[in-house]
Symmetry: C2
Subunit: 212 residues, 2 copies
């Protein structure tokens, strides 16, 4: 199993957590995003989108972190990363998609580069842009959790796809200086996840391709 | 069953296609996005994110179009919107997520409003922004399809979640003036989908809340 990833990529971070929770080992093929290696002909033959992560497993290459994680969950179901009940699965997937669709893509490196290039955005303006989408999205996540009883993790007593998406997003919220103090539930979940080596071992600061 | 949607929303359009393919009827509760109705206290009690669509069904309210469609597919499996094989499912989901995560959110109304407000973006600059993300994303979709045999639909001889995401994205590509001529496979799939009333009946121009 080979993971094409990058230490700071939020979506590669998700996949690392999922692999760890499943007890799966993948060799890292690091794709240096800041040097633009994702746009090389070689990498685009692996992933035409030029994004990370990609996962080579079972004789195929898979892309898009949520699709990869669901594939692993379907083919290696223990421990499950989605609940069994369809209604509960839909809640977990919706929470994950708030992050994966409506927060993370807006703070992607390629998007921030275009803001700088086309609109002359300063670093302050870029940080403000990121803080707005992260803050709005996390507020919606918090509101969804407030509408239900509190669990140790987002949707129950064990980690799911929702927690897998949440922790990398909170890491990135910290990088951009988002005020997390209003998000009591989310911070409580982070404390629980931080007790598990599946989460802490996946942290960007602990990856072999990390940089300061 | 109640769908909270808006005729021009790409993600509401996806859900309309899925409902039609399943032969399900939902009553429309239109949320006028250009008038900001999605940010009302009433609507945010339904969907804290203030986005459409939301679907009330089976005593619950579901959000995020892909999560809703998977819920419908799990609870009303005929006809299936995902293939049975896990590897094929992952390919369909990845294709859908290229659109739902990496194209569509970047051209969302709230994002374009912020480009105008914070960076003084002109209409030309906004259109160029949209064309870039749509063009890049569709090029990746086309490349994925070129790497496999041609089918009538994206991943086989019947429509799947991938086609459900593709058609609204092509509609929006046309709105922003994206040149679709390089995308032979995608255009061929659109011709097939345009033969099916499940797709044509879901078109924005045929919705009761449509405007010129």
């Amino acid at each position: 199993m080979i993971i094409h990833g990058y230490f700071r990529s939020s979506s590669a971070y998700r996949l690392r957590i999922a692999l760890n929770l499943k007890g799966l080992k993948a060799n890292l093929a690091s794709v240096h995003l800041r040097r633009g290696e994702q746009m090389s002909k070689e990498y685009r033959a692996i992933n035409p989108q030029g994004l990370v992560p990609s996962l080579k497993v079972d004789g195929s290459t898979f892309t898009q972190s949520l699709a990869i994680i669901e594939y692993l969950d379907e083919t290696r179901p223990d421990p499950p990363l989605l609940p069994a009940d369809p209604s509960a699965r839909a809640k977990v997937r919706a929470f994950a998609q708030i992050i994966a669709c409506d927060i993370h893509p807006l703070q992607n490196l390629r998007v921030l580069s275009k803001l700088r290039k086309d609109f002359g955005a300063t670093q302050d303006a870029v940080d403000d842009w990121c803080r707005q989408w992260i803050g709005d999205g996390l507020a919606a996540c918090e509101a969804l959790l407030e509408a239900q009883p509190a669990f140790d993790f987002t949707f129950g007593d064990r980690p799911s796809l929702a927690d897998i998406c949440l922790l990398p997003q909170l890491f990135s919220a910290d990088r951009f200086g988002v005020d997390l103090s209003p998000f009591t539930r989310l911070r409580g979940i982070r404390r629980q996840c931080d007790q598990l080596s599946a989460f802490t071992d996946a942290h960007p600061s602990r990856q072999p391709d990390r940089e300061e």
